[in-house]
């Protein structure tokens, strides 16, 4: 049960990443690999600031802004210098690796004894429920502290999802979605699509950096390698979400991304429990996304073939 609660908590934290990937991949159809760098950038920024004694909430917010700067850079490289989205992302991701090392000063920053968002939540649980109290959830003994952390993450993600949903329903958010859907059309309606792409990719990376910042505080360290594979991870979450929630309206899609993130994390935890070598995690994630990407095409072809043979039989 502790494993399940831990997985759901991490799934919730990484759903910020999934939301970021959703913005770049689904709203803008922009394969943005900046994510790998900005995830670490968020973690590094928050960790360095917390170590310098800053309020962890403020540090996380600054990490969000740092991610936005990284995303805006990718956006500008793409829109103003006409560089392919993938390459623009790779350039910024590569540059961020050095920047992250500079921000952290070394490749790993421990936060175990620092005041983080989660040490606040844990203190709160001690104050209200007492040290090391356990409670019964569906027949299992669970630390109340873990439930507090889970609840905190749940409320926070609910809030962020709601803000994102609201944003995409505003005039500017609607124009942003239209930019990804048909840029020629929205330009003809007077929208500067370059500004939309830059803002959108900045927003995406803000969410991703925040995800990294919160994860660093949850696991108690920031590491320069922690961003590797996160883009595919986020994409896997988004794809699972789309498979579960078969609806294209923005509210459902956002709910889907969050649900997908939690489910994917639980699946991974179960696989690891059953003896999956952690080193194989990335290759399995990659294969999973590959299959998810080609499955619709295969299904379509199959349908066509069966339709053809059917038509043939009728003749």
């Amino acid at each position: 049960m502790a494993l399940l609660i831990g997985s759901i908590t991490i799934g919730l934290i990484l759903s910020l990443l999934a939301l970021g990937i959703f913005i770049s991949f689904r709203v803008f159809d922009f394969p943005d690999i900046t994510a790998e760098g900005s995830f670490t950038f968020g973690a590094a920024t928050a960790a360095a600031l917390i170590l310098s004694g800053m309020n962890p909430m403020l540090a996380s917010f600054i990490a969000f802004l740092a991610g936005m700067v990284a995303g805006a850079t990718t956006g500008i490289i793409h829109t103003h210098f006409k560089i392919n989205p993938l390459l623009a992302g790779i350039l910024v991701m590569t540059a961020l690796y050095s920047i992250n090392l500079h921000v952290m000063g070394k490749s790993n920053l421990p936060l175990m004894s620092e005041t983080t968002i989660f040490s606040w939540v844990e203190n709160l649980s001690v104050q209200w429920a007492g040290e090391g109290t356990k409670t019964n959830v569906l027949g299992w003994d669970v630390l109340v502290r873990d439930l507090y952390v889970l609840g905190f993450c749940f409320v926070a993600i609910l809030l962020f999802s709601f803000i994102l949903w609201w944003f995409f329903k505003t005039n500017i958010g609607t124009a942003m979605r239209a930019t990804g859907d048909n840029s020629q059309m929205i330009r003809a309606l007077g929208v500067n699509t370059k500004v939309m792409i830059i803002t959108g990719i900045a927003l995406s990376n803000g969410f991703i950096a925040l995800s990294g910042a919160v994860l660093a505080q949850y696991q108690g360290f920031a590491d320069v390698q922690m961003g590797i594979g996160m883009m595919v991870w986020g994409l896997a979450s988004v794809i699972i979400g789309e498979a579960i929630i078969n609806d294209t309206s923005i509210g459902f899609v956002i709910t889907g991304a969050v649900t997908g993130s939690i489910l994917f994390r639980i699946l991974v935890a179960i696989a690891l429990r059953w003896g999956l070598n952690p080193n194989d995690l990335k290759i399995i994630t990659a294969i999973f996304v590959f299959i998810a990407l080609i499955l619709p095409v295969i299904m379509k072809n199959k349908k066509k073939i069966s339709f053809k043979s059917h038509a043939h039989a009728n003749n």
Binding site: F167, K169, T170, N171, I172, G173, T174, A175, R177, A178, D181, N182, Q184, M185, I186, R187, A188, L189, G190, V191, N192, T193, T248
Partner: protein, 270 residues
């Protein structure tokens, strides 16, 4: 009033793919005038329209709309004054967004878009009234994504969207070319209704001489990146499809002679 002064555009200059698309186009269009633009393939008629819309920057020349020089303005900025319908029915609407969302985007053409609610409930009735005259039953399907509609329905909606806020200039780029004849006739009817109702200054590129003869108050025929013929007033009123066909043949003959001469010269000198 739209003034196009000596617009020149060469695509891919200095390469084997060099195309002199516009070689000095001069045109003055009075406010409220409805101009049909004809021309052979590659005559530059769509290119001229795109130059006015701002899809690319011309190499030379000026474009002036109602005393404002817009030659250097970017496409999105010009959209404040210009409504557009494209040849491809899929170009003018966002397929994954609902009919309502598309219409609401059009209601903000050229205006600043802030964090106000994108789909105010107060507009829903306006939208229903807007699409009801189309007789396509769209007023009951406002929530549906536009991608599910037919090309004709999408083109009709694009036309409504381009004119929802009265534009200073309406650009129609062969907007019925991709539709079946019956739907095309319907969209043309709608076009005429809207233009007459709002007295819109219009530039319509078309490949149909019948359309050009029936519609508007002026016909321009383009050839090799220039305006070759220009008919207005009574002259335009009395113009028949037959007359236009004769002119087309003449232009084609000229082309053929040019090609023949070029071949001859190549044979002799190269």
């Amino acid at each position: 009033m739209l003034i196009i002064k000596n617009i020149v555009k060469t695509f891919n200059p200095g390469t084997v793919n060099e195309v002199q698309a516009l070689r000095g186009v001069n045109l003055e269009i009075e406010a409220g005038s409805f101009v049909c633009v004809l021309g052979t393939n590659g005559s530059g008629k769509s290119t001229m329209l795109n130059a006015v819309a701002g899809s690319f920057m011309p190499d030379k020349g000026n474009i002036i709309l109602d005393d404002t020089e817009i030659t250097k303005w970017e496409e999105y900025k010009r959209a404040k004054f210009i409504g557009r319908v494209f040849q491809n029915p899929f170009s003018g609407t966002a397929p994954n967004m609902s009919i309502m969302e598309n219409l609401s985007l059009a209601m903000k053409r050229g205006k600043s878009r802030g964090i106000g609610w994108g789909l105010p409930k107060s507009l829903i009735n306006d939208f229903k009234n807007l699409v009801r005259p189309l007789n396509m039953g769209l007023e009951d399907r406002l929530e549906n994504p536009i991608g599910k509609l037919s090309g004709g329905q999408r083109q009709a909606l694009t036309l409504l969207m381009a004119t929802a806020l009265k534009p200073k200039l309406l650009l129609l780029d062969e907007h019925t070319a991709a539709l079946d004849p019956k739907t095309a006739a319907k969209v043309i009817d709608l076009t005429q209704q809207i233009i007459n109702r709002d007295h819109l200054t219009t530039l319509m590129v078309t490949h149909s001489m019948q359309q050009a003869v029936n519609l508007g108050d002026r016909i321009i025929m383009m050839h090799q990146g220039k305006v070759a013929y220009d008919f207005k007033g009574d002259e335009k009123k009395h113009l028949k499809v037959q007359d236009l066909l004769v002119l087309f043949d003449e232009l084609r003959k000229k082309d053929n002679i040019d090609v023949a001469v070029a071949n001859l010269l190549t044979e002799i000198y190269v």
